[in-house]
Symmetry: C2
Subunit: 158 residues, 2 copies
């Protein structure tokens, strides 16, 4: 009942608190700043992204988004290409290098987690995996991703 929602929220908040510190650590480890890391993650999480959407998702202005993309581009972590059938648009994509940086970033929280996780009894591991996946699905559902329609190129209209 209500009670359960309450309990879950309290537990969730506790996790959120723990993870907030994590982002900073990861950012530092990759040599990026937190805003830069966030933009890189946004870009890498979909095949391509527009500066406008990046700004919206990251919660910054367009000007700032442009500047952050500049920084990432200078390091070869993302690339810009002009839109084919609408040349006002710019598509930002993560480079191989960019994805590699994200993958290889040492993540202290993951480290701690996997260490403790392996000690749990079998049934608990199974339960946690199932719950984690469900939670991930729920949270990611919220981060609606104005799913990047594929740019199919010039279309004959009319």
């Amino acid at each position: 009942m209500e009670d359960r929602t309450q309990s879950s929220l309290i537990a969730l908040r506790r996790i959120l608190r723990a993870t907030e510190l994590n982002a900073r650590t990861v950012a530092r480890a990759t040599g990026l700043t937190t805003p830069q890391l966030i933009v890189l993650e946004i870009v890498a999480s979909s095949p391509r992204a527009q500066p406008k959407d990046i700004a919206a998702k990251a919660g910054v202005g367009q000007a700032t988004a442009t500047s952050l993309v500049d920084k990432l581009e200078a390091r070869g972590l993302v690339e810009r290409t002009r839109g084919e059938h609408d040349r006002r648009l710019v598509w930002v994509t993560a480079t191989e290098e960019g994805r590699r940086v994200l993958e290889s970033a040492p993540d202290p929280l993951q480290h701690v987690f996997s260490q403790q996780f392996s000690k749990l009894p079998d049934w608990e591991q199974a339960m946690i995996v199932a719950a984690l996946e469900k939670i991930g699905a729920i949270l990611n559902a919220g981060a609606i991703d104005a799913s990047p329609l594929l740019d199919v190129g010039p279309v004959d209209r009319r």
Copy 2:
């Protein structure tokens, strides 16, 4: 076996990604910057904290920690008091106002979560609560909290 750890890590990473954007949103909603929010959370998570420990937990230098605490103090969200029996120390505590800000901060991720959560069947809710609590315990175990010994005041030694 190995496989489960792998699955859980993948799921965890997905959650981490989703939550990283959240911190910025919450920070902005409270009128604080992300580093300030983190410091406030560190301070509020225990009855009192030393600048030195704040710096360590937040992953910044002492100088930076001092400056962040300055900002929070200027807004009346935290207070400083000198250590009783060791006057080199400074104890930073969250004010009522500071806690109120944290409590009342609209948290988009929590909103989405509670909404979806309530739709789940009973058994799944129970499972998730259990798992969330376990995960929270695991993650917070990593963020060791040099548990703030209570300052018992001047002690007669000898």
